[in-house]
């Protein structure tokens, strides 16, 4: 008797486990599909020939593949200018953010001084202030210092409105033992030397995190370049794509190609640096 009962409950357990397992995978596949399909359709549209596109439906596979739309999008959309400007902005802003963020974090982590709590609170509160409406006033500031319609405006704002980077460094400094500083001090090294030769090199993982996360953010930034750099010669890739659509509104194949052109670098970075990105996001929340 007991054996039969045991077999029955084992079977029940297995059925329950299998059902929940099936539900699990179905929801995962459904979720993945929702994530992929919108992008996949755009990708297909971008590589289909005009004939395939006009005759087939949105989900149909191409009979032959063409990259003409990509070439058109890149040239007509002035994407080279976009990439060039975005690249400059990235280099300048990321370098500044990393150096300034690491330096400020070093001082705030290693030293005790009057006003430290005040400064840290000021930074903390700033993270909760929604930044986008500040543009109403910042617009005045940028205009009055003559930076409107220059790359400088976006660069300055990129550096000036970021508080997260410093926090990432601050948190990472917890794992760099003060004993390293102390033994250097026994050798008579100045604080500056300690920062330059010991602390900064050890911050490499944090630097990578800041670089990647802030880099992605800057790459994707639309409103700031839109508001402060109306000059088409100063387009970033975000504004270049946006402006491209206006006159080409109904030619979805070219627009699709433009979209893919913007997405592909992101995809590459993601695939290459997945772990870093995950760690960065999880770490910065702490």
């Amino acid at each position: 008797m007991k054996n039969n009962d045991r077999k029955k409950s084992l079977l029940q357990y297995k059925i329950k486990y299998a059902t929940s397992s099936i539900i699990k995978y179905i929801t995962l596949i459904f979720g993945a599909a929702i994530a992929i399909i919108p992008i996949l359709v755009i990708f297909l549209s971008s590589i289909k020939t005009k004939k395939d596109y006009d005759t087939g439906g949105v989900l149909s596979l191409p009979t032959s593949v063409t990259f003409q739309h990509y070439i058109d999008a890149f040239t007509k959309g002035d994407m080279f200018t976009g990439f060039k400007n975005t690249f400059f902005i990235l280099i300048v802003v990321l370098t500044a953010k990393i150096i300034l963020g690491a330096a400020a974090a070093y001082v705030l982590h290693r030293f005790r001084f009057k006003g430290k709590v005040f400064i840290m609170t000021a930074f903390l509160v700033a993270t909760f202030i929604p930044g986008i409406v500040n543009n109403i006033i910042i617009y005045q500031i940028i205009s009055s210092i003559g930076l409107f319609n220059t790359l400088g405006s976006v660069m300055l704002l990129g550096i000036g409105t970021d508080v997260i980077s410093m926090y990432i460094f601050l948190q990472f400094l917890d794992s760099i033992p003060v004993s390293l500083d102390e033994s250097a001090m026994l050798d008579g090294a100045s604080y500056f030397t300690i920062f330059r030769t010991i602390i900064f090199p050890l911050l490499k993982p944090a630097i990578a995190t800041v670089g990647i996360l802030q880099g992605v953010g800057l790459y994707n930034d639309f409103y700031t370049p839109y508001l402060y750099m109306p000059d088409p010669g100063l387009s970033t890739i975000a504004t270049a794509l946006y402006r491209f659509k206006g006159p080409n509104g109904s030619d979805w194949q070219i627009i699709a190609a433009g979209v893919m052109i913007i997405i592909i670098p992101t995809l590459i970075i993601f695939l290459a640096l997945q772990k870093h990105i995950y760690n960065g996001i999880q770490g910065s929340v702490k």
């Binding site: 929801t27 995962l28 979720g31 993945a32 929702i34 994530a35 992929i36 919108p38 755009i42 549209s45 439906g57 949105v58 989900l59 330096a103 070093y106 001082v107 030293f111 001084f113 400064i119 000021a122 930074f123 700033a126 909760f128 202030i129 929604p130 986008i132 409406v133 500040n134 109403i136 006033i137 500031i141 000036g160 409105t161 508080v163 410093m166 090294a189 100045s190 500056f192 030397t193 920062f195 790459y219 994707n220 639309f222 409103y223 975000a238 504004t239 794509l241 946006y242 627009i255 979209v259 913007i262 997405i263 992101t266 995809l267 993601f270 997945q274 990105i277 995950y278 999880q282 929340v285």
Partner: protein, 291 residues
């Protein structure tokens, strides 16, 4: 030369040197605008005129009583609800994927990737998606639900649902990864002990995962709720506020830059800030009372 100074002197110099720029930036681009916005919100400044008149709370009252402005709060409601959906989905997927699942990294990557995408790209992808006979309509027809196609962006009654859904699509990945990280940091031995005690997966979720996640969920909730009220980029690019999809921030910026009512716009900005503060305080209050 720096090396010859005493550590005391060095300390003073380096503190100033290393913090002065970040502090100056913070003051200029975060706090100064804040102060000015509060100031201007009580005036009727139009951004150009030199005679600014103090009008007290008139701007604030306008926002809450004039239906043209007030209706953006209604729009925010859609994003608010979407936020809860977003967090629930993030929590669900994070929980599932923290246990043994095949192709875990694939699912993890796919669910997260939209979070990294450029806003303009997402806006265009979904304009195509919601078009008549676009992606969504085609998929519905494909699975036999063709009768249910709608004017996803053309119908004012559902346009906000469509746009809020895009927001969920975009941002769920971020919450998901954060939750996943927190869950994975829980000591696996606790699960083993619970399984031995006969707890099933759901019970494990309620009693092990949830308590550990409380702080993180609360933080994500604050950020997501403030984000819901700050919704701007996607609706701006996709519909530019047409068909009743104008969000609060869109309205504020439009009022400031197109209608030149800087005072009114600043009032809206301050209201947004107050909402964010309110949400934060509410969160903290709820959290404390639960402990």
């Amino acid at each position: 030369m720096f090396n010859k100074l005493s550590y005391e002197a060095q300390k003073r110099i380096i503190i100033v040197l290393f913090t002065i720029i970040p502090i100056a930036m913070l003051a200029t681009f975060t706090y100064y605008p804040l102060v000015r916005m509060i100031e201007y919100s009580f005036t009727n400044w139009d951004g150009l005129a030199t005679n600014i008149k103090f009008v007290g709370l008139k701007n604030y009252i306008t926002v809450f009583t004039n239906p043209d402005y007030f209706k953006v709060f209604g729009v925010s409601l859609y994003y608010l609800i979407a936020t809860f959906v977003q967090l629930a989905l993030a929590l669900y997927f994070a929980t599932i994927l923290s246990f043994n699942v095949r192709f875990k990294n694939f699912f993890k990557g796919v669910l997260f990737f939209p979070y990294l995408l450029n806003g303009v790209a997402i806006a265009f992808i979904f304009q195509y998606f919601f078009q008549v006979n676009g992606t969504l309509d085609t998929v519905l027809k494909f699975v036999g639900l063709g009768a249910h196609t709608q004017l996803w962006l053309g119908n004012p009654k559902i346009i906000n649902i469509s746009l809020a859904a895009v927001s969920v699509w975009r941002y769920m990945g971020g919450n998901f990864i954060i939750f996943l990280g927190t869950i994975q940091a829980i000591d696996p031995q606790i699960y083993e002990a619970a399984e031995i005690d006969g707890a099933n997966r759901f019970q494990q979720f309620i009693n092990i995962i949830l308590p550990n996640l409380k702080r993180i969920i609360s933080l994500n909730l604050i950020l997501a709720l403030s984000g819901a009220f700050s919704a701007f980029e996607i609706p701006f690019i996709m519909t530019n506020g047409a068909n009743g999809s104008k969000t609060f921030v869109m309205e504020a910026l439009e009022v400031a830059f197109q209608y030149q009512k800087v005072g009114l716009a600043c009032a809206m900005g301050i209201i947004l800030l107050l909402i964010c503060i309110f949400v934060t305080v509410l969160q903290k209050g709820l959290l404390v009372s639960e402990d």
